[in-house]
């Protein structure tokens, strides 16, 4: 790049008060208007997939629950489902319900966390504090069930590690009522505020076709009118037994995403209550002796979107390959479509609106010494695609194009 075409760049990151994680958005600005955005993550590569290959099958859930501090129920669940697919294990029904309950509680606390953070990002610290206060009882409930506020470590191959004691159910139902009431109050307060309308409506619009093009998932997709949800489209745990709705909004702006998340929180409280009432009797796990060779996929609807795990076993006691795709991996690139042409104030809240989680979605960058990035995100992606094509040719897989799928 020559000096003549250099444009003013506003750096959001690598350390920036906007978000607590390391991320780097280079906003090319023209006054207040953002004309281009370059997203660079991978400041915190932890090599989870490699670590996982060194652990035994029943140790991995503890590792993957640490991929993300918030989605710490969805990642182990997706992994465990993948392993159960290999082993052909059917977990007992009560375990499915316990998994559902923990995952929905996780959704409530994650969405309330996002509402609070979004409030903070637009300078509304009162919403921040209130939302986080309302989130506390959810964490307390999770602690009572699993022993931990986050990183529950409750699923294992073949069922669950801890049961929900029956005497806890009435207390949980009562707490859920309180949480639902408070969330409804918060939803009303946030959605009726004219200043919030002025600030969020029509901001950072991700059009439906752009959303499909970037293959976004979760509330980001549902806020753009793409009503996809793994819980309904490919039911796992006990979701097919419950009566619930997929919330979606057609507008695609930040406000729509906020509406989706707030309504989903209320919906999640309803689902948890149903699951608690229907909780079947019986054991909470079956014994799994060994994992046969084979490969399996598992996916779960994390609060941020679809979490996908692929596991391959060679019959030993460790996975030989474990692949994770966290929802932020597809949601983060959609900034290209939603941020350009907005003002800086709008871009920062748009960046936060997909509820990104960078350390979940770390990929690597190859860096030479201090300065030169040899392979950045784009070139690594290209290499990966080239490798896939080569492998496909080697094993003689049929030619497939994206349009066919």
């Amino acid at each position: 790049m020559t000096e003549a075409v250099r444009k003013p760049v506003l750096a959001v990151g690598p350390f920036h008060p906007l978000q607590e994680e390391m991320e780097f958005f280079q906003l090319t600005v023209d006054g207040e208007i953002v004309t281009d955005i370059d997203v660079r993550i991978s400041y915190n590569h932890r090599g989870i997939e490699k670590l996982s290959e060194g652990l035994q099958f029943d140790q991995v859930p503890f590792l993957v629950s640490r991929i993300c501090g918030i989605c710490s129920a969805s990642h182990p669940l997706a992994y465990v489902q993948a392993v159960e697919e290999i082993a052909g294990v059917e977990p007992p029904e009560r375990a499915l319900y316990v998994r559902t309950i923990i995952n929905e509680l996780e959704r409530i606390h994650s969405h309330l966390l996002w509402v609070g953070l979004a409030g903070h990002f637009i300078g509304y610290d009162t919403v921040f504090m209130w939302a986080w206060k309302y989130r506390e009882p959810v964490l307390d409930l999770l602690e009572e069930i699993t022993g931990n506020r986050n990183n529950y470590g409750n699923v294992k191959v073949g069922g669950c590690r801890e049961d929900i004691p029956d005497e806890l159910v009435p207390k949980m139902l009562k707490e859920l009522d309180a949480i639902e009431k408070k969330t409804e109050m918060l939803t009303k307060a946030v959605l009726d505020d004219p200043v919030i309308h002025a600030r969020l409506k029509g901001v950072g619009v991700l059009k439906k076709e752009d959303g499909i093009k970037f293959a976004v998932t979760g509330p980001t997709a549902r806020g753009s009118g793409i009503a996809i949800d793994v819980r309904r489209d490919d039911p796992y745990a006990a979701y097919s037994d419950l009566d619930w709705q997929v919330i979606s909004q057609p507008e695609g702006d930040v406000f729509a995403k906020a509406v989706v998340r707030l309504l989903e929180t209320i919906e999640a409280a309803k689902m948890t209550r149903q699951a608690l009432k229907k909780l079947p009797k019986g054991p909470v796990a079956v014994e799994v002796k060994e994992i046969p060779p084979g490969e399996g996929c598992g996916h779960a609807e994390a609060p941020r979107g679809e979490t996908f795990h692929y596991v391959r076993s060679d019959g030993g006691n460790r996975p030989v390959r474990h692949k994770v795709r966290a929802p932020s991996f597809v949601n983060v690139p959609s900034f290209k479509a939603s941020c350009i042409g907005e003002s800086i104030a709008d871009v920062t809240i748009t960046l936060a609106a997909v509820d990104p989680c960078y350390s979940c979605t770390e990929r690597m960058a190859v860096v030479d010494g201090r300065r030169n990035v040899i392979h950045d995100y784009a070139s690594l992606l290209q290499m990966s695609r080239a490798k896939t094509t080569r492998l496909r040719k080697e094993i003689g897989a049929p030619e497939m194009k994206l349009e066919d799928i």
């Binding site: 920036h16 906007l18 207040e32 509304y124 610290d125 209130w130």
Partner: protein
């Protein structure tokens, strides 16, 4: 000589710098404490703002390599002396030591902190600060006009009751409470919002918005220089609400009862500012400009017309 020493005492000790600073630190604590109560938090102990400034004073000062050093260092001093002058003028007026036309001086001096902020951030050669400076500049342009208009309303309201030559005197204006009329109320509300913007509080903390430009105008400041900015903001927390009290709410008298009443008025204005701060999200700069020019401007034009009519026909409540 004695006169000079007395004046120095007035400016530096009481009721100038030291006294204003003490009041300001308590006010800063009040801002944090009331915000905390609104937000379900406990809030800091009363000495926290002072402790923060003390800590900053002991920290290293970093000056960016490309910064204009002289301007970068001078800017916080200019800002601080601006507020110091403003608070001294106000205290003098409240103590009924007047000079004609002091409201003009007050308005003039009130712009200094914002100008200093723009100077300092422009000198610091950071893209974040540059955007912050641009925003501060737009913000000053937006709120100065409504603020001036609000004072025009007050001058019109009170001029009928004042002797010739006294129309611009703060002491004379402080004898009246223009807020007890429709036009005065409108002017007070708009002036309150302008003060909100001058203080850099939500919803008008656009220039230093933490989550967008990482405290924009002040991003490159550290150590004692940052402490000076914090002191400036602390002093503004005294001077600006006090100015509103003086101009709109009848000032603070000299008898014990009226001093207590005056303190009550000051706390009332401060709490109003804090509540606005805690019940709104930050607006965008273009929204702020539209708000100040169109909505506040229109309201104040109506207030000016009302006040003039009220004066002409001798109707006090208009």
């Amino acid at each position: 000589m004695i006169q000079a020493l007395t004046n120095l005492f007035w400016i530096l000790i009481f009721p100038g710098f030291v006294f204003t600073l003490a009041v300001g630190l308590v006010a800063a604590w009040l801002v944090r404490k009331v915000s905390a109560l609104v937000q379900y938090r406990v809030g800091p102990p009363v000495y926290q703002p002072a402790a923060d400034v003390m800590k900053l004073l002991g920290k290293e000062i970093l000056i960016p390599q490309d910064a204009q050093r002289a301007v970068f260092v001078a800017a916080p001093l200019i800002g601080l002396s601006g507020v110091l002058l403003l608070s001294t003028v106000l205290w003098l007026a409240l103590a009924q030591r007047e000079f004609v036309g002091d409201i003009i001086v007050a308005i003039y001096v009130m712009v200094l902190p914002s100008l200093a902020l723009i100077l300092g951030s422009s000198a610091s050669s950071s893209p974040h600060a540059a955007i912050g400076a641009g925003r501060e500049m737009k913000l000053v342009l937006s709120y100065e006009l409504p603020l001036l208009l609000a004072f025009v309303v007050v001058i019109i309201k009170t001029s009928g009751a004042l002797e010739a030559g006294e129309q611009l005197s703060l002491v004379a204006i402080a004898q009246h409470t223009p807020v007890l009329s429709i036009s005065g109320m409108l002017a007070f509300i708009v002036a309150l919002l302008c003060v909100q913007a001058k203080l850099g509080f939500v919803p008008f903390d656009i220039a230093e918005s933490e989550s967008e430009v990482a405290s924009g105008v002040m991003i490159e400041y550290s150590g004692a220089l940052l402490a000076l900015w914090k002191l400036m903001q602390t002093l503004m927390l005294v001077a600006l609400p006090l100015f509103l009290v003086t101009v709109f709410l009848g000032g603070i008298g000299t008898s014990v009862a009226s001093v207590l009443g005056g303190v009550g008025k000051y706390v009332l204005v401060l709490v109003l500012v804090i509540l606005i701060k805690n019940t709104n999200p930050r607006v965008r700069i273009d929204q702020a400009m539209r708000f100040f020019w169109f909505y506040c401007g229109t309201a104040l034009l109506a207030a000016v017309v009302l006040a003039t009519l009220g004066n002409y026909y001798g109707v006090g409540w208009l």
